[in-house]
């Protein structure tokens, strides 16, 4: 006879997450390098990051086009040869352009580190930006753009950024068809010269680090210097729309995409850690109120979620979902209802404990393995912070109470301040 007690959960215990140390050094030319020793395999992730994001561009698409074109040929390699070599040595690369930064992440086997660093140096500092490849890329990007703007989630998100940050600021500016014309190799060279410089750069290394790792980094990257100093243009101003509700039509769509949110504080502000807890309660995990109510109770959507994100000059919070046309308004009403509940009714202890424990587990996952640690570190480092942020976050998760949640909900989720963007058919 089975006498196992299955009703009560087994005893559990929530440990304080361990936040790893990051070692910081400088190359001969002062490029900062951050070293994170972790993992069991003889592999590495090296991130080269530059202040060369959308915010720096003086023409739409300039930052991202420069970034993508880095692997399309260099002084010593054609585009085909460069890509073939990267594949031959078993490396994986990611080029990316974000609002504030751009760069290259390389995943490599340590046995090939010399070759990969040589190729990375070529990619980052000796790009050729061949005109033919550039024109072919712009045509391809135009095609990708046409496909992407048929998706309600993209249309809504683009409008959301425009409403929050303005039509002219790089945080808010929407890409339009004519942006794909007129890009030239000379423009890319100019942008590259200004922003892909040692002064603008940092290197984050994680994985199994050898003695020669830093020697090699110095060999390949420690000698380069900038040709000119560039002083940034400070004229760009963030300007939110006055109009809070915008609907972007896409005839024939079966679902509408909803984006509700506003500009908000970023990671540098003391309230940010508390806001993270509040956001998790609202829509930041599977057990959140929005998910429970709008998916698990009403079945209006396959998924609804919220998050808070930081930019250098600002930050935002957003709630997003794709909902069938008939239920769009009902879902929006429920979203506001959930926000008001957080403002007016103290959260029960049980629910707060669930979200706290989940978040503490999440911090452990954020530091599991060399790649995760590097990403977590970068996401605070780029705001001038260090891993101490995670100690503060842990502390806030442990101590926050229902009163503070109510205060935060009033301060940061004032319904009058929220933008409400929908895309789809009406």
């Amino acid at each position: 006879m089975n006498t196992l007690q299955r009703i009560q959960p087994p005893v559990f215990h929530i440990d304080t997450p361990t936040v790893p140390e990051v070692l910081s050094i400088k190359l001969d030319n002062n490029i900062p390098v951050y070293l994170i020793e972790s993992g069991t395999e003889d592999i590495m992730r090296i991130e080269f990051t530059f202040k060369a994001g959308h915010v720096n561009e003086y023409l739409p698409l300039l930052a991202s086009t420069t970034n993508i074109m880095l692997t399309e040929g260099s002084q010593n390699y054609s585009s085909v040869e460069l890509n073939r070599q990267l594949d031959y040595y078993g490396s994986f690369i990611n080029l990316s352009t974000e609002k504030d930064r751009a760069g290259l992440v390389v995943f490599l086997l340590n046995k090939h580190i010399e070759k990969i660093l040589e190729l990375s140096m070529e990619i980052l500092f000796r790009p050729a930006f061949p005109e033919d490849e550039l024109q072919a890329l712009m045509k391809k990007r135009h095609r990708w753009f046409l496909v992407n703007r048929e998706k309600v989630q993209n249309i809504a998100m683009d409008q959301f950024f425009e409403s929050l940050f303005g039509k002219t600021h790089p945080y808010g500016r929407k890409v339009v068809e004519s942006d794909f014309e007129g890009m030239t190799s000379a423009l890319l060279k100019d942008f590259h010269e200004k922003y892909y410089t040692p002064e603008n750069m940092a290197i984050i290394v994680s994985g199994k680090i050898h003695e020669k790792t830093t020697i090699l980094l110095n060999l390949f990257f420690g000698k380069i210097s900038s040709q000119k100093i560039y002083i940034e243009d400070a004229r760009n101003r963030l300007k939110s729309f006055n109009k809070k509700r915008v609907h972007v039509p896409l005839p024939g769509a079966l679902q509408s995409a909803i984006r509700i949110g506003s500009q908000t504080i970023n990671k540098r502000e003391p309230d940010y850690t508390g806001l993270k807890v509040l956001d998790s309660l609202l829509g930041g995990y599977f057990g959140s109120r929005l998910m429970k109510n709008i998916r698990e109770e009403k079945g209006y959507t396959y998924g609804i979620s919220s998050y808070v994100a930081s930019f250098d000059l600002s930050g935002y919070k957003v709630i997003s979902a794709e909902v069938s046309i008939n239920n769009t308004q009902k879902a929006i009403d429920e979203i506001y209802k959930e926000i008001e509940l957080l403002q007016n009714v103290p959260v029960e202890k049980e629910e707060l404990t669930v979200v706290k424990n989940f978040m503490l587990g999440e911090i452990i996952r954020m530091f599991d393995g060399p790649f995760a640690i590097a990403e977590s570190f970068k996401s605070v480092w780029e705001f001038g912070l260090d891993n101490n942020y995670y100690h503060r976050l842990t502390e806030k998760i442990k101590t926050i109470d229902s009163d503070e949640i109510i205060t935060l909900a009033h301060t940061y989720y004032n319904v009058e301040d929220l933008y409400e963007i929908t895309a789809g058919s009406k």
């Binding site: 890509n83 990267l86 594949d87 078993g90 095609r143 024939g252 998916r295 503490l360 393995g369």
Partner: protein, 415 residues
């Protein structure tokens, strides 16, 4: 080398354990040997809908997620043509919470009518979101029945049609559970900060008492050999014309599987793949082009798809794709190129194995395929492929008579 131990409980549950002390976490994976190929033709999508129901409360536990989150854990699941797979990660100290939760839903569900109603709606929204409200989202709904006439791979995991999901009732759900969800039809794998001994004790304690069940025998119709080329042309209001081509291949365990995997890497492994280099970069016919093989257990497919550049005739694009495929059949592949795709494959395995979750899923999957040791020797198998095998295999599979082609034409461009 991934070390592991394996044991089988009296009720037939197979358990695999891989210890990795470098992580504070444990990943727990429960694979059930049931997928959309086990759906009935009249009620497709049931295996997938069922996955949603597994979170709606079990015999003793009203809600799966909350106690897991309370213990600092996270979870998800996926269904494909062959399997339904549930996974979670927890801080190592709290792994017993995972055993408690997973064993209770293997014991039985509470089969709530309300939960079924809600999850039907959720899955219908998933159907809309992923297949109907995306440009080209329905391409797989069109390709499968073109390539498969008899075998259940002819429908996608989500189901043939929303009406199938709508009409599912609680009796079908119960029958489905008791014919497919059983310890003797499941594989449990644990990876991370756990010893084999602890895994054994906890498995015995929580899964041991669950009785064996009579699992429905799988009797699937074999897909007859395709004997002539199949073509379908449709017109839709999409921004660009797209080309899809699929070829039948053998089952996952056939000797050609790794050769075909290598061939798709030659074709589309990274930016330096042949299709990209020739047809995107040089000839500028496509804006994107990809090829891969489905890793289905029963005979699967090589799938190729691409979107055309403006003004390119789809018949021309199709011809050019055929030339690339013919090249594989006629010309010996350069040894450097062989070396390149082998190196890249090896390194992709090394990177994938840095994640305890990937290791847990793969161990369970290889056990299902018959030998968990495959997790350690797939690189060797890949390395053994030579240039003749590439030619021979290409000749065997990439014939027009074995191919189905879909022209997904844009009405916007033809205006």
């Amino acid at each position: 080398m991934i070390g592991y131990s394996k044991f089988t409980l009296d009720n037939g549950l197979r358990v695999l354990v891989h210890e990795d002390r470098s992580t504070p976490l444990i990943a727990m994976n429960v694979l059930y040997d049931v997928g959309s190929r086990d759906d009935e033709p009249e009620t497709t999508g049931l295996a997938h809908l069922f996955e949603h129901l597994m979170f709606g409360g079990s015999v003793n536990i009203p809600d799966f997620d909350t106690p897991l989150q309370l213990a600092g854990g996270e979870n998800n699941a996926f269904t494909n043509s062959d399997i339904t797979n549930y996974y979670l990660t927890l801080p190592a100290t709290n792994i017993e919470t995972g055993f408690w939760l997973e064993s209770d839903r293997m014991l039985g569900l509470d089969f709530s009518q309300k939960n079924l109603g809600v999850q039907k709606k959720v899955v219908i929204e998933e159907f809309n979101q992923r297949y109907l409200n995306q440009p080209y989202g329905d391409s797989i709904l069109l390709l499968r029945p073109l390539a498969y006439k008899v075998h259940p791979y002819r429908w996608p995991t989500i189901g043939i049609d929303i009406s199938h999901i709508e009409k599912t009732d609680i009796k079908q759900v119960k029958d489905f559970f008791y014919s497919h969800y059983a310890p003797n039809n499941a594989i449990l794998s644990l990876t991370g900060n756990i010893t084999g001994k602890r895994a054994y004790t906890l498995s015995q304690k929580w899964f041991g008492p669950i009785g064996k069940r009579e699992v429905k025998t799988r009797k699937l119709p074999a897909e007859p050999i395709q004997s002539e080329e199949r073509k379908l042309t449709i017109e839709k209001e999409v921004p660009a014309t797209a080309l899809y081509k699929v070829w039948h291949i053998g089952p996952r365990l056939s000797s050609d599987f790794f050769t075909l995997d290598l061939i798709t890497d030659l074709l589309a492994g990274g930016e330096s793949g042949r299709l990209y280099t020739s047809l995107v970069r040089e000839k500028k016919l496509f804006s994107e082009l990809n090829a891969y093989l489905t890793s289905d257990i029963d005979p699967g497919l090589v799938i190729l798809h691409g979107k055309l550049m403006k003004g390119i005739d789809i018949r021309l694009a199709d011809e050019e794709v055929k030339k690339v495929m013919d090249h594989l059949k006629k010309k010996i592949t350069d040894i450097k190129e062989m070396e390149k795709v082998k190196n890249k494959y090896e390194s992709s395995i090394v990177f994938s194995n840095t994640s305890i979750l990937n290791k847990a899923v793969n161990l369970a999957l290889y056990e299902l395929l018959g030998d968990p040791e495959m997790i350690n020797n797939e690189v060797d198998k890949f390395r053994m492929i030579d240039q003749e095998m590439v030619i021979e295999t290409s000749r065997n599979y990439f014939a027009d008579t074995n191919c189905s082609t879909l022209y997904y034409k844009s009405t916007k461009e033809n205006k």
